[in-house]
């Protein structure tokens, strides 16, 4: 089947899609956007987190057909060219990125958290990111990055 959706502000078409394909598969394998990751494809790790009509979702749990005519924003859509989003900037600077496989999902989830709650407490950060597994960092530097990103966004507005 043929699908049409808006991805990172552009209208995109995908052809020859099999009915069982997830949004994650279509983004990664058909639209050339492998930034969203595929660590479990079962909704358990958060590495595939994207915005679907402004709501953060696991792209592996969304059937590609469900995204038709809707608006998807992936991690590739957050930076402004070479200018990183403050969340991205803070993840790099805080040392929150090791292998980085969890990072795209955490970036989108953090972006979403700070949009909803501009100055989250540590407990709120932990609750919000509980669905995003990271095997490398033990999460300490991720907490540092989220706190710093919230401060930086607050200073910008």
């Amino acid at each position: 089947m043929r699908l049409k959706m808006t991805v990172n502000g552009e209208s995109r078409d995908a052809d020859g899609v099999w009915p069982g394909e997830s949004l994650l598969y279509v983004l990664r394998e058909r639209l050339g956007l492998p930034g969203s990751k595929n660590a479990c494809e079962q909704g358990e790790c958060g590495s595939c987190t994207v915005y679907l009509d402004g709501v953060a979702v696991c792209a592996c749990l969304v059937a590609a057909g469900q995204a038709v005519d809707r608006e998807v924003i992936t991690v590739e859509g957050l930076a402004d060219g070479d200018r990183l989003d403050p969340v991205q900037e803070c993840f790099v600077q805080a040392g929150a990125v090791q292998c980085g496989f969890c990072t795209p999902g955490l970036i989108v989830a953090t972006h979403d958290l700070i949009a909803r709650n501009p100055s989250p407490s540590d407990e709120e950060i932990r609750e919000a990111l509980a669905g995003n597994l990271c095997r490398c960092t033990g999460y300490e530097k991720i907490l540092d990055a989220v706190r710093a990103a919230a401060r930086r966004k607050a200073a910008q507005t």
């Binding site: 099999w18 069982g20 990664r28 394998e29 050339g32 956007l33 492998p34 930034g35 969203s36 990751k37 595929n38 660590a39 479990c40 494809e41 079962q42 358990e44 790790c45 590495s47 992936t74 991690v75 590739e76 957050l78 930076a79 990183l84 991205q88 900037e89 993840f91 790099v92 600077q93 040392g95 990125v97 090791q98 292998c99 980085g100 496989f101 969890c102 990072t103 795209p104 970036i107 407990e123 950060i125 932990r126 609750e127 990111l129 509980a130 669905g131 995003n132 597994l133 990271c134 095997r135 490398c136 960092t137 033990g138 999460y139 300490e140 530097k141 991720i142 907490l143």
Partner: protein, 763 residues
């Protein structure tokens, strides 16, 4: 496909914390992991695996699978072009099963198809006829019961390594003991659970060779195993490191490398292969489960008199790295303590359980849980504080280990414990449901919750041991680019997340006195770098980059006609007294200076097969942990409140990366203590998913307090000490000790499950 990395940060030599050169790509989603690779016209590969842990294969019919639309190839062992077996230590593992399968998940056949779904359907249509056999799944029986059947012809023993010092059975020795504690311990199977699935892309080349883009820990060792199976000379197998989504030992053995290459060579088309999560649980080796019996004797003043131990490690169906894991468990089996009388026997077994091999801590983790539990039991029996007992017995520089090896660099364990105990305990907090065991599940408001504090100490060998010719190679090129001196650093070493790409650039900046450094992609066009394991790359590849830079510097100094002890600083050649001799730009002109160097650590020796004696290790690294836990003793729920650690790293090369290693290692130790186990029944895995195999989330990890010491190792580059593994050892026993203190239970098995804490199961 894999791009060179030029640091965005201009400054940042050794000891500073510049940001990772791959950081911006990773946060933008533009870093190419092995599962992200894509090329026009590529096929999808898939693997058919045995559902049985032990069975004879009596027939395979690939006809129905080949008939499916979009299927381009179905291959079995008959299609393996060269050697039918591979293996990291012993070549005992069939590329595809031949007549018998030895573990559940063993690869039997391969498919290449136009779409992953077509490949999956084809897998379901391959008919394999099995004659199912009773699996051998009890490692103890496999090793010690003479009536046991054998997994491989003639034996179930991979390695037995004794360590003998003094005589723990001498009645005169026993008479010195005020307490003798004998207990059994068990460690379950832990999984590396790296997030990036096993994956890669193979592209056939015109000369009949192959380009392989894979995520691995050791390119050259992969190459040495892959080429003979493909019947290709090594130079026709061109390997490039694709982005690695974590490793932790799980990418030391091959997974899909030979398979994807076979499919590409057979079809003449590029083939991509990506395991899904369930398959990943079967696609790599795990941490060895262990059954251990320990007996400790100590005098009334707390001095250890003897330790006896029997350690049985279950390696599963194939050897993998079991021989080296056994050596670590044996040589480090009493921990960092002085013990005059020692009798250790460590065994590695073949069974039909999941194959086990390398995971962070590598044999030292299992023994550490047992010896630290024993130290607590001895302390309790003597009415001593657990950390004081450890200090009384602590090794220090000059101590002799039970293997006869003298520790010839600083190991300030006693001081580390002083520092640890002096760290403030977490302040009492206001009530918050989210900080209760059970969290927002609202299982308690504090009733039934007890706090406990525990300590753990671990010792890990760094680099490869036992006489292995362990080296790394680096090529460094210095030239003017755009009017600025710039270095290109090329090694085959695997960046698995630990930050080696950052460190290599730091070393080049410091040694060459420049700002601009580019890190070439790791590939097999440069010499062997050895494995990114055993916490060895800062030491080994760091050492190689340092030496290659020194060779480049030497040539620059000669060209400049400067005195031999001149330095390169700030783009200039400068004498030892700080006088500027020349600008690098003038010395270099249009020439590029390139040097390649191999770096080796001091030679080591094999352990004596009967006594374990010998200088088998290069370097020792210690970490100590204190854990504070809250336990809901009615429901058996645990919340780790805080973890504090002291580690001596010799030299802080990059504080940000180092802290990340200690945090991450500590988290994996927490996982082993209270969450992570591959559960196996009759040789079959019960929980191959992140739904059922739980790794720590951000809710499970407490704040971590760190103190890092820098007592230099005079034998190592910059005095550094490998740092990635030690925290994984010590956090597990510290957490278990804290839970013991909170509950009063003996707790002889990890991971601890709620039912172990509520008395439903004997603990």
């Amino acid at each position: 496909m894999t791009k060179p990395l030029t640091s965005t940060s201009r400054a940042g030599g050794v000891g500073e914390s510049p940001v990772r050169p791959d950081g911006p790509l990773k946060v933008k989603g533009e870093f190419a992991y092995s599962s992200d690779l894509w090329i026009d016209g590529m096929l999808w590969g898939a693997t058919l695996r045995s559902p049985h842990p032990r069975a004879r294969i009596t027939g395979v019919d690939i006809g129905p699978a080949l008939a499916i639309a979009g299927v381009r190839a179905v291959l079995t062992h008959a299609d393996v072009p060269g050697d039918k077996f591979y293996g990291i230590d012993q070549r005992d593992q069939p590329v595809l099963a031949i007549d018998e399968v030895r573990y559940q998940g063993e690869p039997v056949a391969l498919v290449a198809a136009d779409h992953p779904e077509a490949a999956r359907r084809a897998l379901n249509s391959i008919e394999v006829h099995y004659e199912v056999l009773e699996p051998i799944f009890d490692a103890h029986k496999a090793l010690f019961d003479p009536t046991s059947e054998h997994v491989h012809p003639g034996t179930n023993l991979v390695r037995h390594q004794p360590v003998r010092q003094g005589d723990p059975d001498d009645p005169a020795v026993r008479a010195q003991c005020a307490v003798v504690i004998a207990r059994d311990y068990e460690v379950g199977i832990q999984d590396q659970a790296f997030l990036g699935p096993e994956s890669g892309l193979a592209i056939p080349s015109e000369d009949g060779g192959i380009e392989l883009y894979v995520a691995t820990q050791w390119l050259h060792n992969d190459l040495a195993q892959i080429a003979p199976c493909l019947r290709l000379p090594q130079e026709k197998v061109r390997m490039t490191m694709a982005g690695v989504g974590g490793a932790f030992g799980g990418r030391e053995d091959l997974s899909m490398q030979i398979h994807v290459a076979m499919l590409a060579l057979h079809t003449g088309k590029p083939v991509k292969m990506v395991y899904h999560r369930e398959e990943s649980f079967f696609g790599h080796v795990h941490r060895h489960p262990a059954v251990m019996h320990y007996e400790h004797g100590a005098s009334a003043d707390g001095k250890l008199v003897f330790v006896k131990a029997q350690i049985a490690l279950d390696g599963g169906g194939f050897a993998s790295t079991t021989p080296a894991v056994v050596a670590n468990a044996a040589s480090l089996g009493v921990g960092p303590y002085e013990v005059p009388h020692v009798k250790i026997d460590a065994y590695g077994a073949y069974t039909n359980n999941p194959p086990c091999g390398a995971m962070r801590g590598f044999g030292a983790v299992q023994a550490c849980f047992a010896y630290e539990s024993q130290m607590d039991a001895v302390a309790e029996a003597l009415g001593m504080s657990p950390w004081r007992l450890r200090q009384i017995n602590a090794v220090s520089e000059g101590s002799t280990l039970p293997t006869g090896q003298v520790i010839d660099s600083p190991v300030p364990l006693s001081e580390m414990l002083d520092d640890l105990v002096a760290m403030p305990l977490p302040p009492s907090e206001e009530f918050d449901l989210r900080r209760m065991p059970g969290g927002v599940s609202n299982t308690t408001h504090g009733e039934g919750v007890r706090r406990g504090v525990g300590y753990g100490v671990g010792i890990k060998n760094i680099c490869f041991s036992e006489g292995f010719d362990d080296y790394s190679t680096a090529r460094v090129r210095l030239e003017m680019i755009g009017g600025e001196p710039a270095a290109l650093v090329h090694t085959a070493a695997a960046e698995v997340g630990q930050g080696l790409v950052t460190l290599k650039a730091q070393i080049a900046r410091t040694e060459l006195g420049i700002e601009r450094v580019t890190i070439a992609p790791a590939d097999s066009r440069v010499g062997n770098a050895g494995s990114s394991s055993a916490s060895r790359q800062s030491y080994m590849t760091g050492g190689a980059v340092k030496e290659a830079c020194a060779a480049v510097r030497q040539r620059v100094i000669e060209l400049a006609g400067a005195p031999a002890d001149a330095q390169l600083v700030g783009g200039k050649v400068v004498t030892a007294l700080g006088e500027v001799v020349a600008q690098l730009a003038d010395v270099l002109g249009d020439t590029a200076i390139e040097e390649t160097r191999e770096y080796r650590h001091r030679p080591t020796e094999r352990m004596n097969p009967l006594t374990g004696q010998g200088n088998s290790h290069v370097q020792f690294a210690l970490c100590v942990h204190r854990a504070v836990v809250d336990v809901d003793v009615e429901l058996g729920l645990v919340r780790v409140v805080e973890l504090a650690a002291v580690q001596d790293v010799g030299k802080i090369m990059n504080l940000l990366s180092l802290e990340g290693q200690i945090h991450g290692g500590t988290a994996q130790g927490l996982g082993l203590a209270v969450m992570e186990e591959i559960q196996v029944a009759n040789g079959k895995v019960l929980n191959p998913s992140f739904t059922d195999y739980l790794i720590p989330t951000i809710l499970d990890m407490p704040p971590m307090r760190l103190k890092i010491l820098e007592n230099a190792d005079p034998h190592a580059p910059y005095g550094l000490r490998g740092a990635g593994e030690p925290p994984t050892l010590s956090s597990t026993p510290a957490i278990v000790a804290a839970i013991r203190q909170a509950t009063g239970l003996a707790l002889k098995r990890v991971p601890i499950r709620p039912e172990h804490l509520t008395g439903t199961l004997a603990s």
